[in-house]
Symmetry: C2
Subunit: 385 residues, 2 copies
């Protein structure tokens, strides 16, 4: 029995348990023949009102129940080595005292936080928030919390975020790189360490880190082949940063399709941009000056594709008759623009889900799967092509 002091004679010996009253242990002091119940000591410090509302801890419960902290912990954790009686008393007490375990303390001792860190380039782009949604959904199901860091497409912010997360806050990290990220040293120093990492969507292919990819090669290939079948021969393609898997792979798929159909690859038809409206416009203007005229544009994002369509409309260029336009991502807007946008649905939510599954799997089994996983997508034909 833990040390209990008689409130009357202040004696510590000769204190006996004397039944339970309203879930509280009642005591009897032999020396002064006194019955008492230990009441929770209220914090009389009134300066900061909100700190009075201290969370009840195991200690508080233990004190009231007249049991040791250990026993209370065991009861609350459903350990077998405890009598059903005390277990029930403690659980009842915990609920009346509104006990909530302090998970920070739990994390410290267990060295597990059940929290996943996610670094994404933006929250205001549909594909990213959709992937995040997928991640969150799986994480929540598996009992993991999700803590987000937005890099705002800035490499330095990505590095800073990484730094900020790698201090025992998280059990695992999911990362989707910035558009400008071309060096991966910041990641390299964390590979194989305590915290598992998974790259998704935009990944560094040659890094020994598990990765989940959209089906970029096949997607781009399918789209390009479709356009060729429709008679296009001068197909321009708008890409993101050169160092990103997403650009590389889509370019690869594009090239495969052209080669298969014996169409020469024209570097003037390739353009790497960072997706600001100005750069989109700049790219189109450059393309429109070419002869022979281009007859199709594949855009790496639906948002840009939609802007392209609008620009072409303004220039009185008919879509799809003169130029066909194809997007990537199947965002909401594509269905509503006129002409409605043909696009490759990369299944972004599933990409997020798979990424979360992969890392949780690794956390549970401690097995790493380095083979990149590709999430299938599908081509969606609408009016713009």
């Amino acid at each position: 029995m833990p040390r209990v002091r008689c409130p009357k004679c202040n004696n510590i010996e000769g204190i006996l348990k004397a039944g339970i009253v309203r879930y509280r242990q009642r005591y009897y002091c032999k020396k002064c023949d006194y019955h008492f119940i230990i009441t929770i000591v209220k914090n009389k410090n009134n300066q900061q009102s909100k700190w009075n509302e201290k969370q009840t801890s195991l200690k508080d419960i233990a004190q009231v129940a007249g049991l040791s902290i250990t026993t209370v912990s065991r009861a609350l954790n459903n350990r077998p080595d405890i009598s059903i009686q005390t277990r029930n008393i403690i659980r009842e007490l915990a609920s009346t005292m509104n006990y909530q375990p302090n998970i920070v303390a739990q994390s410290l001792v267990k060295r597990v936080t059940h929290t996943l860190g996610v670094i994404i380039p933006s929250l205001e782009t549909t594909i990213f928030s959709t992937m995040l949604s997928g991640i969150h959904e799986i994480a929540a199901k598996a009992g993991y919390k999700v803590i987000i860091c937005v890099s705002n497409e800035k490499h330095e912010t990505e590095i800073a975020n990484l730094q900020a997360l790698m201090n025992n806050m998280i059990d695992g990290l999911l990362i989707c790189h910035t558009n400008q990220t071309s060096s991966f040293e910041h990641l390299r120093s964390h590979i194989g360490k305590r915290i598992p990492i998974v790259q998704f969507y935009r990944v560094a292919l040659d890094l020994p880190v598990p990765q989940i990819l959209a089906d970029d090669i096949h997607g781009a290939q399918q789209v390009t082949e479709y356009l060729i079948k429709k008679g296009c021969r001068k197909i321009a393609i708008l890409l993101g940063s050169k160092s990103l898997s997403i650009s590389q792979k889509r370019l690869e798929g594009y090239k495969i399709a052209l080669q298969k159909n014996n169409i020469k690859i024209d570097n003037k038809l390739l353009c790497h941009i960072d997706f600001s409206l100005e750069m989109v416009v700049e790219a189109i203007e450059k393309w429109l000056k070419l002869t022979p005229k281009i007859d199709a544009i594949i855009s790496i994002s639906d948002k840009s594709a939609v802007q392209i369509i609008r620009y072409l409309k303004k220039k009185k260029i008919n879509v799809p008759d003169q130029i066909k336009v194809f997007g990537f991502g199947n965002e909401f807007v594509g269905e509503f623009i006129a002409p409605s946008l043909s696009t490759f649905d990369t299944n972004t939510k599933l990409v997020g889900e798979e990424a979360a599954k992969l890392i949780i799997e690794e956390l549970i089994t401690d097995v790493q799967i380095l083979e990149p996983k590709i999430v299938a997508g599908k081509i969606i034909i609408r009016d713009s092509a």
Copy 2:
């Protein structure tokens, strides 16, 4: 000096410091006349490789430096009461040993996690991810992390999320209620306790909890008045759940505008839905059967508004000539649909930013501002009205 044991004679007394070699304290044992440097003890447990990569702790640094943990802590926290020399040694050592403070331990002792919890109904709706983006931006600037919980518009999930967050994980909570939330008991029990709460966008108006609102009344009023000015008299309005501030306030603004212009309020023109496409269609179909014919529809969201426009187009009803359509939210899609969507820009990102500012302010100053704060928006006129 902390206890140092001579590796040769295993003696603990008579050990002297003997200079510093490569940032490490060198010792001299008087008894056996032996110089030594303490090396970090490697974990030889090879079962789980990744646990070998234990983070270096203050203790490790202290041991290597031959100083106490306290001193190391002080040096790393830039406390004034430390000699510049040791400070530099320790910092250098920390960086070579790649020290990262364990913020879980810090949180436990400081009782502050620098983490904000956010409960939102969805991540796949632009307004919510935009608000989240605003929250995150401000939080990041103030050095707070953000942990997200998605309620999926389910009341029970909201309750579960709340429960999951209220266990010392977070310093403050930002909540945007579910479409179906009508009882707020789950929140009530946390009001005034240790963790401050801020409601945003969709709030329970009568709860004594700080709140950030979009300018729903004025927004709806402005929109309605604009439509009236354009000659509309039978203006239908599509709303969300009755218990939400957002529906109530927008309805209020709508009614004010009608009353001001002596137009009788017709309950058949009001419709509360949950935003599934089916319900949108159902609502329109009901309205289209009315005589005299409706001449305008105000939708509580741009997404629904866009669906309305498409439906009307399909039914060969001219927008805006026969029926004008107005949305709320100024989402990306509105600019691209034909006819382009007139909308009330609720400035959602700013709503998020203000919510984050409010709670961080409260965390820092411990002052609560219960006066609801309204974030101004602006009406955007395009082709649909």
